[in-house]
C-alpha cells in the first residue's frame, strides 16, 4: 500500500501541496481528480522523487520514500507514466522498452517481458523499430505505459493518461488500466477525465488547491458534482 501523509511541497514560496494525505490500496485502482493547478502532478512528481517535498511522508509498505533518489524509488517498485508521456523520441520503441527495464539484469526475462508488452499492445510490435517520436499520441501513451511496466512495478502511477487523446483512444487506455489492475498491478491514477476515471476506480479522491477535499468510492458523490469540482474546483464553482 502506498501511503502519503501530510505532504507539503512548494515552488519557492508558493505551496502546491498543503498537507496532502491519501493512500492507494494494494491491488486496487485509486483515482485522484481535480482541476488544473490543484497540485496533482506535483504530488506524482513528489512520489516519484523528481520533486523533493518540504514536509510529510510517502511510504510504500514499510519503506519511507521521501529523500530517496528517483532511481532508488524505481528500485522500490514504483513506476510513473508521466504527464505528456515523455517517451524517448529519438530511440526506437524497443529501445524505449529496454530503457524501462534499465535496473533489471535478467536479460531473458526482459526479452520475455518485451514480448508480453507486444502482446498487450500489438501496435507497439508493429512499430518496434520505429522512432518513438514518430508515433501518434495514443501510441506514445501505450509506449509510456509499457515502458513503465517493464520495471515490473508494484505500484503504477499514471498522470493524466487521457490528456490530448481522441475519445476512442481514451476508452482503450482505460480498458488497459482495468486489465492491468485485474492482472494484479496496484494503480494510482491522476485524471481530469472524471467520467472515465470513475468508471474504473475503486476509490477516488478530489483535490483542490493543494488539499484533498473529498475521499470516497464512486457513487458516493453525484457524478455531476464530481465533474464540476474536478474541472472547476468547488470554491469557484460553488460561488
Amino acid at each position: 500500500m502506498l501511503v502519503v501523509s501530510d505532504l507539503v511541497a512548494a515552488y519557492g514560496k508558493i505551496e502546491a501541496l498543503k498537507g496532502v494525505s491519501l493512500r492507494a490500496e494494494t491491488g486496487r485502482i485509486t483515482c485522484l481528480l481535480g482541476p488544473n493547478g490543484a497540485g496533482k502532478t506535483t504530488l506524482m512528481m513528489s512520489i516519484a522523487g523528481i520533486l523533493k517535498p518540504r514536509r510529510g511522508s510517502i511510504r510504500l509498505g514499510d519503506t519511507e520514500l521521501t529523500g530517496l533518489s528517483p532511481a532508488r524509488i524505481v528500485g522500490q517498485g514504483i513506476a510513473l507514466v508521466p504527464e505528456n508521456r515523455l517517451v524517448f523520441p529519438q530511440m526506437s520503441v524497443l529501445e524505449n522498452l529496454l530503457a524501462g527495464a534499465y535496473q533489471r539484469g535478467d536479460k531473458a526475462e526482459i526479452a520475455a517481458d518485451v514480448e508480453r508488452m507486444y502482446d498487450r499492445f500489438p501496435r507497439l510490435r508493429e512499430r518496434r523499430e520505429q522512432l518513438a517520436g514518430t508515433l501518434s499520441g495514443g501510441e506514445q501513451q501505450m509506449l509510456a505505459v509499457a515502458r513503465a511496466l517493464m520495471s515490473r512495478p508494484r505500484v503504477l502511477l499514471m498522470d493524466e493518461p487521457s490528456l490530448g487523446l481522441a475519445p476512442l483512444v481514451v476508452a482503450e487506455i482505460f480498458r488497459i488500466v482495468s486489465e492491468l489492475n485485474r492482472d494484479g498491478t496496484t494503480i494510482f491514477l491522476v485524471e481530469q477525465n472524471a467520467h472515465m476515471a470513475l468508471q474504473v476506480a475503486h476509490h477516488f479522491y478530489l483535490m483542490e488547491q493543494g488539499r484533498v477535499t473529498f475521499s470516497g468510492s464512486p457513487g458516493q458523490l453525484a457524478e455531476d458534482e464530481v465533474i464540476q469540482r474536478a474541472y472547476l474546483g468547488a470554491r469557484r464553482a460553488g460561488g
Binding site: 513506476a79 517517451v87 530503457a99 534499465y102
Partner: protein
Amino acid sequence: MIDFVQNTIDGVMIGASYGLLALGFTLIFGVMRRLNLSYGPSIMIGAYLGTLIYVQFSAGPVAVVVMTVLGAVLAGIYVERLCFAPMAASAGIASMVSSFAIWMQLEQAAILILPRHTYPFPPLATGAPLELGPFLLRIDHLMMLACALLLSAGVQYVIYRSRFGLALRAIIGNPVAAHLVGIDVKTSVMLAFAGASAVGGIAGYLVLAIDQQVTPMFGMWATMKGLIAMMIGGLGSIPGAILGGLVLGVVEAHSLWHFGPQVRDLVAYLLLFACLVLRPSGILGDAPAAETSIGRRSA
C-alpha cells in the same frame, strides 16, 4: 601532384588528432548540450602531469600515457562538478562562462606546477618514416590515425550498443523520463564527462608526443581545434567529429604549404565561418546547431 598527395596525407594524419579532440568535445556537448570551454585546458593539465613525471622521474611512455589520461579525467570531473553539475538545465550560459573561468584557473595552475614556458614531451615512435613510392608516412602519424578510427568506433559502439549508451541516449532524449525509468542521471553524466575527458587525454597525448613539447597554450589550442572540427563535422555526431577533424587537417595542410603557418589558422577560421553560413548543421549533422544528433538511434 606529388606535393598535393603528400600534403593531403599529412593533413589526414594531423586531422586525425583534431578528430579525436572533437570526439571528446562532441560527447560532452551531445550529452549535456553545453559547451565546455575548459575541455582543452583539462587535457593540458593531464599533459602537464604527464610531462612532470617525465621530467622529474624520467617516467617511461606507458606511465606518461596513463598519467596524461588520468590527469585529464580528473580535471574533467573537476570541471563537471564545478561548472555543470550544480547548474540547472536552463543555465547553459552560466555553465559556459564558469567553464571559461576554470580554463583560466587551470592555465595558471599549469604555470605554477611547471613555471618554464615549454617542457619536453616524450616521443611516441622514433623510427624512420615509411616510404611508399614518393610519399612519406610517419609511424607516429599512422598510430594517431589508427587511434582515431578505433576510438571513434569504440565510442560509437558504447553509445549505440551498450547499456550505458542506452542510459546516455535516454538522458539526451528526456532527462526527467530518464530519472523515471530508474537511470542514475547524475552519475551517468559524470561518467560520460570522464569518458570524454579520457578520449581528450589520449588525443592530447598523441598530439604532444608528435610535437615533443608542451606549453600552457596547448589548452586553448585543443579547445579551438576540437571546437572547429566538431562544428564542421556536425554537432553531436560521432563519425562527424572524425570527418570534421580530417577535413580541417587537410585544408590546413594545403594552406600551410601554399601560404605559410600564419595563413593556415586564418583558413581554419574561414572554413568554420563558411561552414556555419552554408551548412550550419555541419557535414554529418542532420539538425541545426541547437540540436544534437548523438541521441538518435543510428548515426
